[in-house]
C-alpha cells in the first residue's frame, strides 16, 4: 500500500495550529460577540491572518497568545463596525442566544442556571467580558491582561471583581 505523501513542514504546522487552537478561538469569539454566526466568521478571519503571518510576517514566539490577541482585536473591530451596531440595535433580544440541551456543564448546575449565567454574562460590559475571558478562561495573569487591554492592573482587578460579583449573583439567584 502506498504511503500518503507527507505534508510540507510549514503546512503541517498550520494544520496543527488550526486544530490546536480553533475551538478555543471560536469559543473566545462566541463569548465576546454572543452570536455564533459572527463568531465563526471572525474566527475564520483570525486564521486567515495566521496564514498571512506565517507566509509574510515574523513568526510570533507564542502562537497561542498571538491568536488570542488577534481574535480580541477582530472582535473589537466587529463591535465597532456599523453593521454590528445596526444588528445589535435592531435585534438586541437576538443576542440572548439559545443554549442546547447538550450542555452538560456541571452536574451541580442546571440548564436554567447555565442560561441565567449566559444571559448575565451578555449583560456585562464589554470590558468586563474581556477581562473575564482573558483572566478566567484563558488563564492570563493580571499584568498580561492589563497590557493587552491597555488598562492598569488595578482596573483589571476591579473589572474582574465586578464581573464575578454579577455572575455569582446570577448563579445564586437560580439556585
Amino acid at each position: 500500500m502506498r504511503k500518503p505523501a507527507a505534508l510540507p513542514e510549514n503546512q503541517a504546522s498550520v494544520d496543527a495550529l488550526f486544530r490546536g487552537h480553533q475551538q478555543r478561538i471560536v469559543r473566545l469569539c462566541r463569548m465576546m460577540l454572543g452570536n455564533p454566526d459572527d463568531a465563526d466568521e471572525v474566527a475564520q478571519e483570525v486564521f486567515l491572518k495566521m496564514l498571512g503571518q506565517r507566509e509574510h510576517g515574523p513568526e510570533p514566539a507564542d502562537w497561542k497568545a498571538w491568536l488570542t490577541r488577534v481574535a480580541i482585536n477582530a472582535c473589537h473591530d466587529r463591535h465597532r463596525s456599523g453593521w454590528w451596531k445596526w444588528w445589535k440595535r435592531d435585534s438586541r433580544e437576538l443576542l440572548d442566544t439559545d443554549l442546547t440541551s447538550r450542555d452538560t456543564v456541571h452536574e451541580a448546575i442546571s440548564h436554567e442556571q447555565t442560561e441565567a449565567l449566559w444571559r448575565a454574562f451578555r449583560k456585562l460590559t464589554p470590558r468586563q467580558q474581556e477581562v473575564f475571558i482573558l483572566r478566567q478562561v484563558e488563564g492570563w495573569s493580571t499584568r498580561e491582561t492589563a497590557v493587552e487591554l491597555k488598562l492598569s492592573e488595578q482596573a483589571v482587578k476591579l473589572q474582574l471583581f465586578r464581573g464575578l460579583r454579577r455572575l455569582r449573583e446570577a448563579l445564586r439567584s437560580h439556585q
Partner: protein, 199 residues
C-alpha cells in the same frame, strides 16, 4: 485576630493576584470559616467559568436566529406596510373629501327643480337657437320649457368651449345671484344673453 471577611472582600481576594492583600491572605490561614467561604467563592468562580465556556461551545442558535430574524423582519415589514397603508388611506380620503367639497355642483334634480319653479311662459319665451328649439318642439310647453332650460343651462355649464364661445356672458350668468337664470346663446337678433325676466 481580625474580624471575618465579607463576601465582597473574598471576591476581591479572588480577583486579585495571590501576592495582593497580604492581610486578607493571612486571615484566611488563621480562620477556617473564612477559608471555607473563600473556597466556596472560588468554587463558584470555577463553576461559572466552566458553565460559560461550555455554553459558548454549545451555542447552536443559527436556525433560531434566522427564524427570529425573519419574523422580526416580516413583523417590521408589516408594521411599515400598515403605517403606509393607513397613511395612504387617510390621504386618499382627505383628497377625496377635498375634491368633493371644492368640485361640488348642484345635482341635476336641483337644477330641474329650480327650472320647474319658474313660470313656463317665461322659460318658453327665451330666445334659443333654432336647432335647440327644434329639439324640444315635440314636447309640451311646460316640459319643453323646463327641459330646454335644463338642457341649455347644463350644456353651457359643462361645455368646456363655452368659455371661449361666450366668454364673459357665461361668467355674467354665473355671477347673477338674483335668481335670474341667464341663457347665453347667440340669438337670431344678434343678442347673446337674454334673461328669463326679459321675456
Amino acid at each position: 485576630m481580625k474580624p471575618c471577611l465579607e463576601d465582597s472582600e473574598l471576591l476581591h481576594l479572588l480577583a486579585a493576584e495571590a501576592a495582593d492583600n497580604v492581610d486578607h491572605q493571612d486571615h484566611l490561614k488563621e480562620c477556617s470559616r473564612c477559608a471555607a467561604r473563600y473556597e466556596e467563592v472560588a468554587r463558584d468562580a470555577d463553576t461559572i467559568t466552566s458553565a460559560l465556556t461550555q455554553a459558548a461551545d454549545n451555542l447552536i442558535s443559527r436556525k433560531r436566529f434566522a427564524e427570529t430574524y425573519a419574523y422580526a423582519w416580516f413583523g417590521d415589514g408589516f408594521r411599515i406596510a400598515a403605517i403606509f397603508a393607513g397613511a395612504t388611506a387617510l390621504g386618499g380620503a382627505a383628497a377625496f373629501a377635498l375634491l368633493l367639497t371644492l368640485g361640488r355642483r348642484p345635482a341635476s334634480n336641483q337644477l330641474a327643480q329650480t327650472a320647474a319653479n319658474r313660470s313656463a311662459s317665461k322659460v318658453a319665451s327665451i330666445q334659443r337657437p333654432a336647432m335647440t328649439s327644434r329639439a324640444i318642439a315635440s314636447n309640451d310647453a311646460v316640459a319643453a320649457g323646463s327641459r330646454g332650460a335644463l338642457y341649455n343651462a347644463e350644456a353651457l355649464t359643462n361645455d368646456p368651449l363655452a368659455g371661449f364661445a361666450y366668454g364673459d356672458s357665461l361668467s355674467a350668468a354665473d355671477s347673477n345671484t338674483n335668481d335670474d337664470m341667464l341663457f347665453c346663446v347667440p340669438g337670431d337678433d344678434g343678442t347673446i344673453c337674454s334673461s328669463a325676466d326679459q321675456g
